[in-house]
């Protein structure tokens, strides 16, 4: 494990070279009771190490939960708070925890943090990992306690080199201070954490593929049931939660479910705050911690609108695997259910903005290339269907489309629907394609210029 040799905060060492997730709210705007995820973060972007974290009320939630000695109460609070999974699926974390097998004849399992943040247009977990490692560790200890896990893994995207350094040093700090290891804070509860960096595959963000990768196997998803809570890593009960989800736990444990529910006010039924973000040709891209249910329009306002003369054409509410929404949808509160009703998904909650000048065909080609490349190769529609869609999109992009190509894309997208494929990867690839074909079909039709079945002057030999 590598550690910085001097006392300089790691985050500052190469901040000028590397991209960093930018939180666009100043310390003055962020408060413990309204910004549970980010109030400890510093304006200078330096890491909040253990001393500072403790100084800012750190590990109080762990102390409270372990002192109370009732793991089931933690689950009950989480359920009541209805913390919905921030990885994109929006499944109730408390409900997930309540389904983890526990008992005298059941081995203690694992609490796994899914930090394999690779959704295109998403950079929220990175902020928390790089600048505030102890909040995550706190959340993981609470998750482990509630789920009777004996060991934790942070499955980290390998490109997050800085996060790996920060996390490893923070884990050491926590262990030295007695917050990790045997008999945490004198409670009798044992738990420790290791950082596992992935090998750079998007599919490792799928929780069961993550488990296979963690075990050293191929990153193919697993069929459910059995769920990870029944038979997860190495066949033991395991809980996989997203970074942001776990970072919500300390606040919930400390302040209670009502407080958490109250954070979003009247905007939505969902509780808590959300790390929202905007990327694309806007004036001021970045991240904001806002009450969940904030509208797209408000987000776009905070990003100070479209850059230059760009006009908004469409937007993805939360990553490449969510369906395109139109300008008219900006007024909707961005919560899991509302966005779901519009045929899209909230996903990671980081909106990607598409300007009018952008060809939807090229954009879809680019996105489908990503999804085809990141297919694990397990199930047929995803493995062989997505590359075909890429080649069709390429043909359309080059004006070499044939009559029938768009219908073929329709069928390919439909055949990659939920339950038809093994996991949610291909449906995630199909959702934006279907939306693009629906809302911007004319752009695709412009690529159909060749008669059907005739030899083409350009051979389509595109290989990924």
């Amino acid at each position: 494990m590598s550690q910085p040799t001097d006392n300089q905060p790691i985050a500052n060492q190469r901040s000028s070279v590397r991209y960093r997730s930018r939180l666009m709210q100043s310390e003055a705007e962020r408060h413990a009771d309204t910004h549970p995820l980010t109030w400890r973060l510093r304006d200078d972007g330096a890491v909040v190490w253990l001393d500072e974290h403790l100084h800012k009320n750190g590990y109080q939630s762990v102390r409270k939960a372990l002192d109370a000695g009732d793991p089931q109460a933690v689950i009950a609070t989480m359920k009541e708070a209805n913390v919905r999974g921030r990885g994109g699926a929006g499944f109730s974390a408390g409900l997930k925890w309540s389904l983890t097998l526990q008992g005298d004849d059941i081995p203690r399992g694992y609490l796994i943090c899914n930090a394999d943040e690779m959704e295109p247009g998403t950079f929220k977990d990175r902020l928390l990992l790089e600048q505030q490692p102890h909040l995550l560790i706190e959340g993981m200890i609470l998750g482990a306690y509630a789920n009777n896990a004996f060991y934790g893994y942070i499955f980290l995207r390998s490109e997050y080199v800085q996060a790996a350094q920060v996390l490893n040093r923070a884990i050491d700090e926590a262990r030295e201070a007695g917050w990790l290891g045997a008999n945490i804070n004198g409670s009798g509860f044992d738990f420790d954490i290791a950082v596992h960096t992935g090998a750079g595959r998007y599919i490792c963000g799928e929780e069961t593929a993550l488990l296979n990768a963690l075990e050293g196997g191929r990153a193919n998803p697993r069929s459910k049931p059995p769920f990870p809570g029944q038979s997860g890593a190495w066949g033991k009960p395991s809980v996989v939660n997203n970074v942001e989800t776990l970072c919500n736990v300390p606040g919930v444990v400390l302040n209670g479910a009502d407080w958490y529910q109250g954070l979003s006010g009247e905007r939505t039924d969902d509780g808590g705050t959300k790390l929202y973000g905007v990327s694309g040709p806007v004036e001021n891209p970045g991240l904001w911690e806002l009450p969940i249910g904030t509208t797209g329009a408000e987000l776009l306002d905070r990003a100070r609108g479209m850059r230059g003369n760009h006009q908004l054409k469409a937007w993805l509410p939360g990553g490449a695997s969510t369906g395109f929404l139109l300008p008219e949808h900006l007024a909707l509160p961005l919560d899991f259910d509302t966005v779901g009703k519009e045929g899209s998904r909230l996903g990671t909650g980081l909106m990607t903005v598409v300007p009018q000048a952008q060809s939807m065909v090229s954009l879809m080609r680019n996105m489908e290339e990503f999804f085809a490349r990141e297919s694990c190769g397990w199930c047929t529609p995803c493995r062989d269907g997505l590359p075909w869609s890429v080649k069709l999109l390429l043909a359309l992009e080059h004006g070499e489309g044939e009559p029938g190509d768009i219908e073929l894309l329709d069928k390919l997208a439909a055949d990659c629907g939920p339950s038809l494929t093994f996991c949610a990867h291909a449906p995630g690839a199909a959702m934006p394609l279907q939306a693009a074909l629906k809302h911007f079909r004319h752009e695709f039709e412009q690529g159909v210029k060749k008669p059907r079945g005739e030899m083409h002057s350009t051979t389509m030999t595109h290989e990924q």
Partner: protein, 903 residues
Amino acid sequence: MAIIHVDGQAYEVNGADNLLQACLSLGLDIPYFCWHPAMGSVGACRQCAVRQYKDADDDQGMLVMSCMTPAKDQTRIDIEDEEARTFRASVVEWLMINHPHDCPVCEEGGHCHLQDMTVMTGHDRRRYRFSKRTRRNQNLGPFIGHEMNRCITCYRCVRFYNDYAGGTDLGAFGSKDNVYFGRYEEGTLESPFAGNLTEVCPTGVFTDKSHAAHYTRKWDLQFAPSICHQCAMGCNISPGERGGSLRRIENRYHGDVNGYFLCDRGRFGYGYVNRSDRPKVPEWRAQLDQTPTHLEVDAALDHITDALRHARRVIGIGSPRASLESNHQLRELVGDKHFSTGIEAQEQACLERMNHLQRTAGLPTPTPREIERHDAILILGEDPVQSAGRLGLNLRQAALARRETMGEKLDVPTWDAEALKTLGQDSYHPLHIAWPTTTELDSVAIRHSLAPEEIARLGFAVAHIIDPSAPAVDRLDTATRETAQQIADDLMAAERPLVVSGGTLTSEAILEAAGNIAKALSMHAKQAGLVLIRREANSTGLALMGGQPLDWALDELAQGNADALVVLENDLYQRLPAKQVDAALARADIRIVLDHQRTPTTDKASILLPAASFAETSGTLVNLEGRAQRFFQVFEPAYLRPEARLHASWHWLHSLAVSLRGEPPKAIHLDQATQACAEAYSSLAGMAQAAPGADHRIAGLPLAREPHRYSGRTAMRAHLNVNEPRPPQDPDTPFAHSMEGYSGFDRPRQQVPFAWAPGWNSPQAWNKFTDEVGGHLRGGDPGVRLIQPAPGHQGHYHQPVQSAEGTNALRALILPRLFGGEETSSLAAPIQQRTEQPSVILSADDAQRLALKTGDRVNIGEGTTLPVYVQPDWPTGWAGLPAGLVAGVLQGATLTLSAGDKP
């Protein structure tokens, strides 16, 4: 049982199945690729989609994968749903994107599951117009051809090879639409079950290289139900012939014995049938140094008759690799008092001991299928993968089944393969192996490296712990006592403990120890079992028939008590030291040898009669369960080789007997030969029922040996004669040497030459012949058990052996070898290529005493030098030698090693 509704029709199915299994078992067709009846479901290919409705009111439903959906009571599905059909067509279309469509030049064509499924889904128009990806292939050794361009990425190969068979050198590499199935580098596939890839692969990625070398389409092959002759397991096989030579061996499904899989010795060891140096006509010579004179059949018979008439006494030497019928005809010819089994005395004593134990030790012998349900196993002094090939796969499944037990608690169905694998991880049912060196099963077993006597003592100690009234073992060291305790605890904690032993180490003490454990377990009323491994295809049968051991026969000759000898399909030099055999043969004036191969023994024959091999004749064998099974003639050798005079040994010997009695020539048919044998020995009485007789008909028809698309019949003999004779008539069996006859699947039958059903050309067609997929043949699994446990505990405990006195002598410990350790398969070129470099295994102590180290070459006698391998936990006092290498060196023989030539 559950009721499910399929396309509006109600059916009763096994509720523990998934919907794909259930529908296939009902005879309904759903296309599939990644699912395999022996390997369960993984949901990868998405080919088996059907529409499922939540309940009777649901008219929407959703598409589900039938392989991943339980066949719960009141499940409603539509297979013929339009959306499901088009989705299934889409799946094949995707699979075909990179498939080269090279069926005309593909070895799989004509028995290809991918072809069958493509036709079934109706995909017949290609819409993909872009470039295809191409791949490099690997040389995977002498058995398996590799053509990765054809791969449809169903993952069956790695699932079979790694998960089912325990291989480690085949993997899935890469991801997305570029997953490569192969080795990390070129080289021979290491698993002894790799050949099953040729049947597990749904298309032509993994194909049979031995078949490719003389390729014929499945529909142009002639088949018969046959039994593998390469060990005592008795796997059912479908050998395919064309033009007078065997072209390939495929698995023939047997619900109790071999299921869907064979070992590679059985699959690729058939080449001896096609050898050009086989004796084809009778040969006679007055002196050994003379060039043999070829004789016609009548002349040969006259000659032998004349010679035997003048002999003082004729000794007949039978063979455990020949049929019961042939052995019996030999015994009839020479008389009971002059008949030897042809088996070395110590081995025969072990065989008799095993038959006895199977009757009296108090435990039944499970079928190989049932072995997979045993939940704790002790293997005493055997290396099953090397000595009984296919059996090793069964034992491995038994160990793996622990995960099914674990799955029950979480309601994970037994077919949910990946989930069970995740859950089970490295948990196995206890499998203890007492054996001095590494075995293929070690990855799922606890092995105790012991010398033969110590293996026996361990066994006696286990029996004593289980039942204190079994005799205790003196002076047992602490380590062995603890091992015995651990084994006994594991066996006693199990519902269905199993004891496996056998004759490989030719140690009666080990068998007696296994018998003591069996008896002790039977006292506890467990559902325990006893499996005893014999060496050769008909070892069990010969021991049931009885006769004097080979040593006796050679003594009789050497002492001048007999002057004539008839040897049946047996190379005596494989069994006893050459000096002993030479001395006996030198005293025999008349040496009649019947064989289908040339051996050192046939070289000493005064008259050599060319015997038909297993593919050219029929007969009965008894496998290691005690199951009598009939193998049938695949082809009539005289049809395409009119000059050949190959006949079944039982035919030759019967004709000789008739001639010797001075009776007019009289033919004997198989059923008579079988019946005669069954009547002569009470222990073999059941063998006549092992298979239907020659008069068996289905719908008035004989059974076709050839698929109905068999081509070129009229041209087959054109190079010999443009007149086309009628196909050979077969008076011995119910099979026709033509495509005329019954070859369907709808009428239950036991004897199936080749599996075919309309739309099902691949080995997956077996599902049409079984009562449920992976179950039993609807006509019953072939064969009859001849050995049954006698009621009540008649057996008694045996006294333990003493520990061997320490001497400096080095004794031979012959280690069985799947490749190279068996006489006839070792004559097949692919097996010879696959045979590993042999070595002598020594303990570190012995190596030090003899000043040898790994890599040194030593002379082991008979002019053979081998490299030394020093194995740390190998027992001192023993030198491990590979079987089949130094003919005539017996288990336990004292060896003198001398420094050999430097390599």
